[in-house]
Amino acid sequence: MPIIKTENLTKKFKDLLAVDDVSLEVEKAECFGLLGPNGAGKTSLIRMITAVSPPTKGDIWVLGNDLRTHSRQVKTILGVVPQLDNLDPDLTVLQNLLTFARYFDIPKDEAYRRSLEVLSLFELESKVNSHIRELSGGMKRRLLLARGLINLPKILVLDEPTIGLDPQAKYLVWHKLSELKSQGVTQLLCTQNMEEATVLCDRVAIMHHGKILSLGSPQELISRYVGSDVWEIDVNPEERERTIKELDSRGLDFDEAGDKIHIFHIEAGEQVAGLVNFPECLRRRPATLEDVFFRLTGRSLIE
């Protein structure tokens, strides 16, 4: 049984279709990534799944519970890490965690024990009695993650968990998230960081204009849409037309990307032989999820 299941989920704002008929299933103990440009509908989808925004149409089940009738039970086992800082600035670090634990009816002693535990998990022990305004942006983010674990959630919902973190903190967070996954905590991860999705996610869904365009493991998606490598050509404007004609005549799969052309699904080096006059204008590099992202959602700005 999937731990999260949505069927024909739709969210409509006045004249905007934010989420358009999305059906998906998240399996227990997997990390499921939601990727998409700004305004793709990721946050709207997550808000519906975490029971803070009612669907315009469609159904959601979490652990077999219909969210419409069991939102309170579901919220008990969810840990939500929001994109925007909503820590309580009127309270200290420890009070933030204790107050949050109280929302979950966690007894005082237990709440205190767990608070210290999650603080040490994210290396915030020295900040126990600090005020929120004394924390750096990265510390606030780690505190939001720590807070999300206070109720020992079965499902962790993360909206851009490492945005604004320095590389050290980012790797710390990734490491902790993989540990949690191996302990059986299901994760629903919204991100625009392709490396993060590749490292953490078992499966990713690429969203665009409220719809899921494609779904699979990062490797599957890469080999489906890009192949194992990307061949990149620098083209100057005079040669552009000729090169494109040549690529077409060879039946190759390519995209124009600014002053470059990306060629995909190349099986053998001969396929690209003689395309350029200077060998340094042709490069081969490993394909990434980012290539998939651009292929599916385009290169122009969305907003």
Binding site: T50, S53, P82, L84, N86, F100, R102, Y103, N151
Partner: protein, 254 residues
């Protein structure tokens, strides 16, 4: 409309904890100010005014000041206070991601606002008693009236908070609603001093019945119209409390 649950107490506890951490910054507005008004108006202006309804002026205004500042406490708490928590600190968003519902949050805010009224009303009552301005033992019921009054004004305030676009909108609330009541609800002058039309209007705004009820309890003098006063308070409370649960859900769960 969905009902609220006992979990509202969690929001109340959160606000209580914050209040007792920062109470010294709140005290001047709700303890010092009413006492200054009571003494300045009572002794200062009172020296030029003869008996009002058979009482010294300071005795006349004491119950009105209790009712008015209890109103201010709940009103500030559930307009500026709630709006900052809702829009700037995103505290409500954080809370509704836990087992608490929007209705629990709304009720928690309202009952906390009412608790502020209760505290303010009680402190002024005790000080008025120290100045021997409280002749009747019925006055022990005043904290209960202040609390009920608080639930009513907190509900009206939170309803307004749930529909305003920006914090500046509260200028209208205080200038056009709260301040006129402060002057036209029988706090400083008997209603009979006003033209007929103001008297009639005065009887349907929510502060007037509270002032009458508080004054009756302080003096131990009861009239039949106090039943109407109590009924009006209860009707307005139930009405605005229910409405605010609906409008707050609409605001937070888009």
């Amino acid at each position: 409309m969905k009902p609220f649950s006992w979990r509202f107490i969690r929001v109340w506890q959160r606000n209580r904890d914050v209040f007792f951490r920062l109470w010294h910054s709140e005290a001047p507005g709700f303890i010092a100010e009413p006492i200054i008004i009571l003494l300045a108006m009572g002794f200062g202006l009172g020296a030029y005014i003869g008996l009002v309804d058979g009482q010294e002026y300071i005795e006349f205004i004491a119950p009105g000041i209790i009712a008015a500042y209890a109103m201010f406490s709940a009103s500030f708490e559930c307009t500026y206070g709630s709006f900052v928590r809702m829009e700037y600190q995103k505290t409500y968003d954080a809370i509704i991601a836990t087992p608490l519902s929007v209705e629990d949050v709304t009720a928690g805010e309202i009952f906390w606002g009412a608790t502020r009224s209760l505290m303010t009303g009680t402190v002024i009552l005790v000080i008025a008693a120290a100045f021997q301005l409280v002749p009747s033992p019925w006055a022990v019921l005043i904290p209960a009236v202040s609390f009920l009054e608080g639930v009513m004004f907190a509900s009206i305030a939170i309803l307004f908070t749930s529909i305003v676009p920006a914090i500046y909108s509260f200028n209208y609330y205080f200038t056009l609603f709260i301040t006129p009541m402060f002057f036209f609800s029988g706090v400083f002058f008997p209603l009979s001093s006003f033209p007929e039309i103001v008297q009639t209007l005065s009887w349907i705004v929510p502060l007037t019945p509270v002032v009458h009820l508080t004054r009756a309890l302080i003096n131990g003098e009861f009239h039949l119209y106090l039943l109407w006063a109590l009924a009006l308070i209860i009707i307005l409370t139930v009405l605005f409390f229910s409405l605010s649960l609906i409008t707050m859900r609409r605001r937070l769960t888009i």
